[in-house]
């Protein structure tokens, strides 16, 4: 599946628009009657992939095929008024116990509390109160249902999940939701009747994946008199065969003997088809065979997972060269620049300083 950066951003924006934190309005709830503490609740975890979000076909394609495991953990009891929460189990232990008092109605406050709950979860690994797998149910919706939940506050934890070809990872922010809930609690207006079967939406973030390309140069023979020699390659990536170039970089190999030298380009967006062209064949060497080849870029995650069709170690293209009869020496270097995160670049000098 080919996904452009703009599309990925579109995923996140679209999803952010259709989702809200269920707890945001909870504190505004003024229930006319109390919660039936003996009634079990259910939670439908849903991803809306029709209507608004369905405008993005790639997103729809991914979620039509994905299975997203979701677990819920009961972090607090709720009293009959639905207003007061008391941490439960491992979430009530020691200095890290969750504190609901003083939590206002802002998303940031609830998100911070959810992160605290997630930290406790990771540290103490309590048993999940329920699990489901969100899958496409047709009609532009993917969802999973968890039943048998007692009233309380729950931490909803969807697992990070890759799409079919591992070119995109969908990550989720764990968040808190109250059961039962009400229209008023969810939307800030409307009925405050308790709803024991609640539906919430996932909040995925599309994380683009990267892969690597190995370029192997097989030097068939080597002219020792001329010394070491180099070969340069231009790597251009496209999302579709006729699409624009969305990735372009160069790299070189340097040889001091006949035989193979392999260089690896990493951080190439997964899902691209790259065209590799030998654009420099040494000062006195010539290509033996074609000077251009293509390869698919599989994400590092896909290589690690060993999914079908993915070459072990990632994609590799190979070129061969031989001495061409010239008397010119010389070689080259690949200068690698890394972002310093502040708009500048850090250069890794591949040469020794000149000494005059």
């Amino acid at each position: 599946m080919k996904i452009s950066k703009n599309m990925r951003r579109g995923y996140a924006l679209t999803l952010a628009a259709v989702l809200t934190l269920p707890c945001l309005s909870m504190v505004k709830t003024q229930a006319a009657k109390g919660i039936d503490m003996g009634q079990e609740c259910s939670l439908i975890v849903s991803v809306e992939i029709g209507s608004e979000a369905g405008a993005n076909d790639k997103y729809l394609e991914d979620f039509n095929q994905m299975s997203i495991p979701v677990s819920v953990y009961r972090v607090a009891d709720v009293d009959v008024t639905g207003q007061n929460y008391t941490p439960d189990g491992v979430f009530a232990e020691g200095d890290t116990a969750l504190k609901f008092s003083g939590i206002g109605s802002t998303a940031a406050e609830w998100q911070e509390l959810a992160e605290q709950a997630e930290a406790i979860l990771e540290a103490k690994s309590p048993e999940a109160a329920g699990e489901t797998v969100v899958q496409s149910t047709g009609g532009g919706t993917a969802q999973g249902r968890i039943g048998g939940l007692h009233p309380g506050m729950y931490l909803v934890v969807p697992e990070e999940t890759y799409n079919q070809d591992y070119s995109v990872q969908y990550a989720f922010t764990p968040y808190l939701t109250a059961l039962p809930s009400s229209v008023y609690a969810l939307e800030g207006e409307g009925s405050d009747d308790w709803i024991y079967d609640t539906t919430i939406g996932l909040k995925p973030e599309a994380v683009p994946q990267y892969g690597r390309l190995n370029i192997t140069k097989n030097l068939l023979n080597y002219n020792e008199t001329l010394g070491q020699t180099s070969f340069a390659f231009l790597v251009e990536g496209r999302e579709t065969p006729d699409g624009p170039v969305v990735y372009s970089d160069v790299v070189s190999t340097t040889h001091s003997d006949a035989g193979n030298v392999t260089v690896t380009l990493d951080r190439i967006p997964a899902g691209l088809t790259v065209t590799v062209k030998e654009i420099y064949s040494g000062a006195s060497y010539k290509i033996n065979g074609e000077d251009t080849d293509t390869a698919e870029i599989w994400s590092d995650a896909a290589v690690e997972a060993g999914i079908a069709g993915v070459p072990e170690g990632g994609s590799t293209v190979t070129f061969a060269n031989e001495y061409g009869g010239g008397n010119r020496g010389g070689y080259g270097v690949t200068n690698h620049f890394d972002s310093d995160g502040e708009g500048g670049w850090t250069w890794n000098n591949p040469t020794t300083p000149a000494e005059e």
């Binding site: 950066k5 097989n218 030097l219 068939l220 023979n221 080597y222 002219n223 020792e224 008199t225 001329l226 010394g227 180099s230 340069a232 231009l234 790597v235 251009e236 170039v245 372009s248 970089d249 160069v250 790299v251 070189s252 003997d257 006949a258 035989g259 193979n260 380009l265 951080r267 062209k277 654009i279 420099y280 000062a283 061969a320 031989e322 001495y323 061409g324 009869g325 010239g326 008397n327 010119r328 020496g329 010389g330 070689y331 080259g332 270097v333 690949t334 200068n335 690698h336 620049f337 890394d338 972002s339 670049w345 250069w347 000098n349 591949p350 040469t351 020794t352 300083p353 000149a354 005059e356």
Partner: protein
Amino acid sequence: MKYIEKYGKVIAMSAAALGMTAALTIESSLAYFTTYVSAGGSQVVNLGAQTTIHEDVSNMTKHIQVANISQINDCFVRVKVFYGGDLSIGYPDSPDTPSNPDWYLDGTTDENGFRYVYYRPILPASPDPDRPSLTTPLDVKINVPDGFDRDNFNVVVIQECTPVVYDESGNATADWTTVYSEYEEFENHSGGRGEEADD
């Protein structure tokens, strides 16, 4: 150097050709006898010119120098810079003209859009290997466009050298195109093909 043993006859014949040729080089003829690559026709074989590349970077400008590490061969030098399509290069004072007049562009662009920059002076041999002769710096500015959203990129710099040859008038010239026809014999008899090559 088993190649020398294998091609002793070829080298000897080529040495005879060397004696008959009108175009002579100076000290570099010594290099001829140390190479396993044969000469064709009446050409003089000039091999052994070797150079190394040295770089520094400041303000995204590369300062490139080339050293001649050959103890016997004077040479001419040229440099080419390769980069990805999102980038471009220029020179500190001009997009198309190196600031240092020792370096010049020859005006031609290869099929991939890259150009050689030539070093005008002869880069003399370095009798003292600890003090190799150096070109003056070639400053190449790397232009990273606004909105460039990668977190890394490469720039490849290659340098080439060719031995100085003298024309019939005694003028020093650079020959960047010579190909010796009998090298094929070397290839065919070397027995060294890729991974099967002898170490």
